[in-house]
């Protein structure tokens, strides 16, 4: 019972783990290349959410310090700043992967690996 209460009150972590799992399952089980790339993005969103959640304090404000407001809780800005970099990395990986998929589509006319294998085996 206590465990459930702990899990439920920290639901952002639960959500981030679920997203991470969905992402990995999508990459590993879906064969469509576009779905794989989407899976990568879902997985990374899970990681990003985890970081952001670890910097948040319930009832806290954005860390813009104003004079004369003592005793106000501020959220930790470092995870958000880190994740800004993480998002940039994720965008560039996605762009590169999409570029490769476009190239494969030009070669084979499809983005389904099964069809690509078939085209290869029959010698186009």
């Amino acid at each position: 019972m206590n465990l459930w209460r702990a899990v439920l009150s920290n639901y952002p972590y639960l959500v981030s783990l679920v997203l991470f799992g969905i992402g990995i399952a999508t990459v590993l089980t879906r064969s469509n290349l576009m779905k794989k790339i989407i899976g990568i993005n879902i997985m990374e969103s899970g990681v990003f959410l985890f970081f952001i959640a670890s910097g948040n304090i319930r009832g806290s404000r954005a860390p813009i310090i104003e004079l004369g407001t003592d005793g106000v809780l501020y959220a930790n800005p470092i995870p958000s700043a880190l994740i800004l970099t993480g998002i940039v990395v994720s965008v560039s990986v996605t762009a590169f992967a999409l570029g490769l998929v476009v190239k494969l589509y030009k070669f084979y006319g499809t983005i389904e690996p099964e069809e690509i294998i078939e085209i290869k085996s029959t010698g186009r």
Partner: protein, 496 residues
């Protein structure tokens, strides 16, 4: 100047990398000298840094922007890091030398500038990974090196290379996702990203959050195992390494997979110091898993290599087997085991670069890619064949060559941890290696028309290979030279 040297080494390579496409547009012939200049600076800088570390006995640290560690990003170069820096820049420079002769013809002159860009950025990112003392910095450099490594594979632009690059990119991203998750957990536990502070704080707080600590450890192991192709997670490696242009294969097999193994070693033994080295059940389980998978890698990689007909695929599967040795050393965790892992990182980088580059010469000049067409190559290309054979014999572990030293110290490490079964594994794996490398060497020296060389081999493609083969012999005769540094590095790993 000396104070800023750690950052200068990386930044110089980055700037040179981004200048390459512009220089290529202006005058293609000026690319190679400029890249050589940047690499030369990298080699010199790394040697100076290693010298400083050895003579002073203190790590070289640099705080980016002048912010001191708990707040700012720090760079720290200790024995292990300086060893990696010299290895990366040295082998990287030799491969670049080869690439300057090869890449124009193999890829077409249009992409030459961009190829140098990806190459130099990859080197810069790996140097950054080696010296990063900040976990998030490590992650960013890891992603840069991942993207550049995929670009080096995709550079060939044909169907196989594009498919292999996409596969590599997807799996590498899963790996770095796991690593980033692990970093997030460590940050949540300790509130720090600096390696020293994380290690210090983790030892205080971990017993309150044992689950999160061990999950973070496992995530690091999984993430880095994907990126450095530990056996069941190696599926991307043979495609990527065999379809890439030859200099790319050499740099990917020789350096890129190693730097991830090194990063894992650093994390396990510096960040989780006093946790991973103790006999906690989960730490023992992780070690056991590493040992089992590396055994599978050593046997499985060699067995897969046995049935390959394409020489580059054979070499790629051999890399899978050799990464098993490195992970075996990490898993054993005894001083000699860790030292052997680091020594093998060096030896394998030299042997496998030599093999891939000389195989590249065979493919490029004689036009033979299948193992069965290798007969008689020694007549048309005596120097390259000799270098290939020396590296292949070294791979098997013939006594006066570098591969023997790795296997010797790894066996010593196994005895030190009281696991003599791995000595048997060394012997079995040597037999397996001999099984697929000896016929290759025999075929090169047998009679045959040997795919008569269509043209002369340029000097820039012959000398680097011979130089690497000479390194194999020197390191085999005098393994104590790198070991002197490696043992000091290992002492730091096992200190706490």
């Amino acid at each position: 100047m000396l104070k800023n040297l750690p950052v200068m080494v990386v930044v110089f390579l980055l700037i040179a990398g981004y200048m390459m496409p512009i220089v290529a547009r202006w005058d293609r012939k000026k690319c190679a000298p400029l890249a050589a200049l940047a690499m030369g600076f990298g080699v010199l800088g790394s040697l100076v840094l290693m010298n400083t570390v050895i003579t002073s006995g203190q790590p070289v640290t640099y705080n980016l922007g002048g912010w001191i560690p708990p707040w700012g990003i720090a760079v720290k170069i200790d024995y292990a890091e300086s060893f990696m820096l010299v290895l990366l820049t040295g082998v990287g420079a030799i491969i670049l030398w080869y690439a300057s002769g090869d890449i124009g013809q193999e890829l077409g002159h249009k992409v030459t500038g961009w190829y140098y860009t990806a190459f130099l950025l990859l080197l810069a990112a790996m140097l950054g990974m080696a010296m990063a003392n900040d976990l998030f910095n490590l992650y960013v450099f890891m992603e840069v090196s991942g993207i550049c490594a995929c670009a080096l594979v995709a550079a060939k632009g044909d169907r196989e290379a594009t498919e292999a690059a996409l596969k590599y990119l997807l799996l590498a991203t899963i790996g770095s996702g796991f690593v980033l998750f692990g970093i997030g957990m460590l940050y949540m536990l300790t509130g720090h990203l600096n390696v020293d502070f994380v290690a210090l704080q983790l030892r205080r707080v971990w017993m309150f959050y044992p689950t999160v600590t061990w999950v973070a450890t496992s995530f690091f192991v999984v993430g880095f195992a994907v990126k450095s192709a530990l056996f069941p997670l190696h599926i991307w490696l043979p495609d990527a390494h065999s379809s890439a242009p030859s200099p790319s294969s050499a740099v990917l097999s020789g350096l890129v997979v190693k730097i991830y193994a090194f990063a894992l070693m650093k994390l396990l033994y510096l960040v989780f110091s006093g946790l991973f080295t103790e006999s906690f059940p989960v730490a023992l389980a992780i070690r056991y898993i590493l040992l089992v998978f590396s055994t599978m890698a050593i046997l499985g990689g060699s067995l897969f290599a046995l049935v390959q007909v394409d020489v580059k695929r054979l070499l790629a599967y051999s890399t899978v087997a050799q990464m098993g040795y490195v992970f075996l050393g990490i898993g054993l965790g005894s001083p000699a085991g860790l030292a052997a892992a680091m020594l093998h990182i060096l030896n394998h980088a030299i042997m496998k670069s030599c093999l891939f580059l000389s195989a590249g010469t065979f493919i490029h000049v004689a036009g033979v890619r299948q193992v069965r067409d290798f007969a008689g190559l020694s007549k048309t290309m005596p120097w390259t064949s000799a270098a290939f054979s020396i590296a292949a014999l070294s791979m098997i572990g013939f006594p006066p060559l570098a591969g023997f030293a790795s296997k010797w110290y790894l066996s010593e490490g196994a005895m030190q941890s009281g696991e003599p079964v791995f000595v048997v594994l060394m012997v079995v794996s040597s037999f397996l290696n001999a099984w697929y490398y000896l016929p290759l060497v025999g075929r090169i020296y047998s009679a045959g028309e040997g795919g008569a060389a269509k043209e002369d081999i340029p000097l820039s493609m012959r000398l680097p290979v011979v130089l690497l083969a000479a390194c194999c012999v020197v390191l085999g005769l005098f393994p104590k030279i790198p070991l002197a540094l490696v043992y000091r590095a290992v002492d730091k790993f096992l200190l706490k």
